[in-house]
Amino acid sequence: MTTTASTTGAATPTAARWLFAPLPVARVAWLRTLVYLFVPLDVLVTTPWVARHDTAPASLYRPLQLDRMLGLPAPTTVVVHVVEIALLAASLAAATGRLPRLLGSAVLVLYLEWMLIAFSWGKVDHDRFAFLVALAVLPTAGRATRRDLGTSEAAGFALRVTGLAVVATYLLSVVAKARFGGGVLHWLDSAVFVRAVLRRGTALGTPLLDHTWALHAGQYVLVALELASPLLLVLRGRALWLLVGGYVAFHLMTWASIGIVFLPHLVCLLALLPLERLSGGTRPLGWRQRAGGGAAGELAAVSGNGGVDAGGQPRQRRRQQQRTR
């Protein structure tokens, strides 16, 4: 069994070994399909308000720093719809898996422009960061098919960075509460969830105003979930599924009570799961060397990737070594 020279050597920092420890190529192929197919859903169904900015008055245009750096004026009706159509076409083309770098890069640029159109009228949402990161790193994984039995460092990097972005969104939300909420403890005992329900309460959420203790407790649950998010990067198996289920449940409860759901962010949570199992006949492939430890053994220890049988033998023949840039 051989491995790439770049993965060997005691000088390689642990963080770099973790970042580049190989993960299944099929997983990144599945994530790519799901992410790129989510784009049309996002544009046309779940956030149709972005396209409505085609008529928003230029007098209320509040350009973001990126708009100002690029000298972008308030988008006209034509610009909004040209970007919309180009984004839909590029994302559908990218979902096929062809020309992953070219089409993936096109989707990234167009989606970022779509977000500038979305958030340049005085309100910025925070459910897009991980999704933008996923769009940025997915092209770097290169060619990948959903029935690929191999693993790759490029896939490992793309998937782990997407996972890091998910965790950063949660963890740095706690920092924002400390900064804008007068400290986390002050925020915890504030009436912020009561405000949310008073302003946006749904038929399911509004009755909670008669049980404000539940909303107060929800604030503690939210911060606990946000602080626990690094566990998403280290847990495996059933524990990981349970934790991901906990986050999904919280987001769905938020949606049911105030109509806000972090759908793009939830799509990125999938990067943490063994999506390669969706390929059916192809078993998830691990990267764990049975004997000898060494660099390969170290990688297996940090990759968090299963895919070996009970005796520690790889389930499938590993892919022939390639070197990609």
Partner: protein
């Protein structure tokens, strides 16, 4: 055997990752929303006083035949949080711009003669709504 990256490929990825991380941390600690995508994650990060008031802003319009209607997102192409976020600098003339947007988006609807920006304040006590609510008109635009 496995698919590996070249040393250059690794260095490039790590460099871009570090750059993005620094921008995100700087935006979280010092930036504002306009630093998107590297701004602070501040949705619902503020703390409302349990004995204060919850403020909610809305637009209402009076049509040419005198009916008072609530203004929705689809009427003006903007979300409530968007014009609410611009409150300190919002002017009555901007409401006139929104009336013109409405005429463009809803050509078959009755035109607006007056547009009002109204702020509702819900009183809280001990973190619970008391049921008391007061409304204040912040801005009014009247068609010339």
């Amino acid at each position: 055997m496995l698919t590996g990256l070249t040393a250059t490929g690794r260095r490039l990825r790590v460099t871009l990752l570090l750059l993005a991380s620094v921008l995100l941390l700087a935006g979280t600690v010092r930036g504002q929303d306009d630093a998107f995508p590297f701004g602070p994650f501040r949705m619902y990060a503020t703390a409302d006083a349990p004995n204060g008031s919850v403020l909610s802003t809305r637009l209402e319009a009076v049509t040419v035949d005198g009916a008072v209607v609530r203004v929705g997102e689809g009427d003006i192409g903007m979300r409530r949080a968007e014009y609410e976020g611009q409150l300190p600098s919002l002017s009555a003339s901007a409401l006139g711009d929104l009336a013109r947007v409405h005429a463009r988006r809803r050509p078959d609807a009755r035109a607006w003669r007056i547009v009002r920006l109204v702020r509702d304040a819900y009183a809280l006590h001990g973190g619970r709504p008391t049921g008391a609510m007061t409304s204040t008109v912040l801005l009014t635009w009247t068609a010339p």
